[in-house]
Symmetry: C2
Subunit: 324 residues, 2 copies
Amino acid sequence: MNIEMIRAARTRLEGHVRRTPLLRSAFLDEIAGRRVWIKPECLQHTGSFKFRGGWSAVSGLNAEARARGVIAFSSGNHAQGVALAALRHGVRAVIVMPSDAPQMKIDNTRAMGAEVVTFDRATEDRDAICARLSADQGLTLIRPYDEPLVIAGQGTCGLEIAEQAAAECITRADVLVCCGGGGFASGIALALQADAPNLRVRTVEPEEFDDMARSLVSGRIERNSRLSGSLCDAIITPQPGAITFPILSQLAGPGLVVTEDEALHAMALAFSRLKLVAEPGGAVALAAALFHPGEIQAEDVIVTMSGGNVDAAVFCLALEKFGG
Amino acid sequence: MNIEMIRAARTRLEGHVRRTPLLRSAFLDEIAGRRVWIKPECLQHTGSFKFRGGWSAVSGLNAEARARGVIAFSSGNHAQGVALAALRHGVRAVIVMPSDAPQMKIDNTRAMGAEVVTFDRATEDRDAICARLSADQGLTLIRPYDEPLVIAGQGTCGLEIAEQAAAECITRADVLVCCGGGGFASGIALALQADAPNLRVRTVEPEEFDDMARSLVSGRIERNSRLSGSLCDAIITPQPGAITFPILSQLAGPGLVVTEDEALHAMALAFSRLKLVAEPGGAVALAAALFHPGEIQAEDVIVTMSGGNVDAAVFCLALEKFGG
């Protein structure tokens, strides 16, 4: 991985991916005790930053691979990102999803033209299904984070942050990134190292699923003890990626960890103060900025709001619990 | 009123007012049967387009008037727009609000540094209170819509729409504007007449509060029979303005009218498909595009989403009723 791959991805993404703005609210600044800048990737196509990586991966295929198609496993944002990118390239997409995934996510993925293959989490092995379909049909597997073209796509968000920070005269900042496997964080970290070395990435995860924070402390890949049971489903992964961890180990500051309630509270504040819909996993970075100010070192803090694909019931739970 | 006043307002607003994007969703296009472009003024400072008019009015005062201060009456978006504009100019602002206005709106207006004067709707006359305070203290009254500087500020949104439509190669479009007194619609109409004459403003109002639509038909100012009892509170006004109506009468196409349920449904779709928070009155234009396609004439439709200042309870009502 290097910055040239991210710059090449930006060229491929140009005109297809939304350049999201950098927003602020005086009310949020007051809670945080510093200037809080929000990069709302919930406004990205498909409702999350994952469309960047999906577009980067599909557009980076050669003609032969495009003709055969792509395959991805995901119950959520990555599936939609890959599906829409494939649709717009006229490339066949097969998405492997657990049969108990929310019907709306299955429907959305199908509506974007993808073929959905479901599997039983209890009795079937996702990786084996993907490997078999990929081998039988010549489909190129697009991994959700441990994939250079995907990381390069996510990194284009970092290039935008560097430019927007310069335009706002932000010279030093902690850049809080919602973190699952680390594709978004490592792409942004590489972009900032090149274009804005005084902006430093800090990963943010939910309590009990803080594999990246613990790995950054110990210096080696640590696993989560469980893989379900969080409202922050979009950023729950077994462990940091083999490609992403070394990048973050070198470039990122200490990881931050927030509670699920802090994420819900941040969602309610994004509703009332920014008029934006964030999903729980997409609100952890804002939660860290607002409720863990003592752990942030720079004068300015930039937070990614990584996605907005949330069910109405969960959204209203956040509003009921934390006003709005 | 003329286009030069809008261009002058744009110069004063530059760097202070957010240039909101022009968004699209394939899901919404499919419902509407045509391309739907969304101008999300809910992302404007203070959560509505009213900040444009507030900034325009305050920045247009001479030094003497600034030193004395401004006064406005509003229970909602106009109050916040004027309050924040005054705060940032270092100008005193007095906002006259009904004593039964939602506490959050009163708190927000105070948090923006304004002095809030409350009155009893049943026994006191708002206009008389404003006139007295204005005369006693030399405060300049900033009317919510029948005020040239305010209309000029709202018109800057129309200049942006003209530029963004050209960039997207939109040659003909109906531009649906959420309409109360007509300040937003008339400002946009003047801007489009000058910069994009093939884009035509159409006002959109809620059922039973369709004074503008009826006035456009009859050719003279018609009143609403009642002034409360709508969730679309932000756009409920007694009648079209004396300045705004002649402009719209000349430049706007026939007005559209939607039901309250259609507005709530549009809010739910803005949540799920755009990740944006719209208030009921701010969602009527999207509702018209989605649910009244037969009344729209152009291939493309551009809708203003004029504000997002909605209580959690009303927002969740929309999501419960119309999925999400």
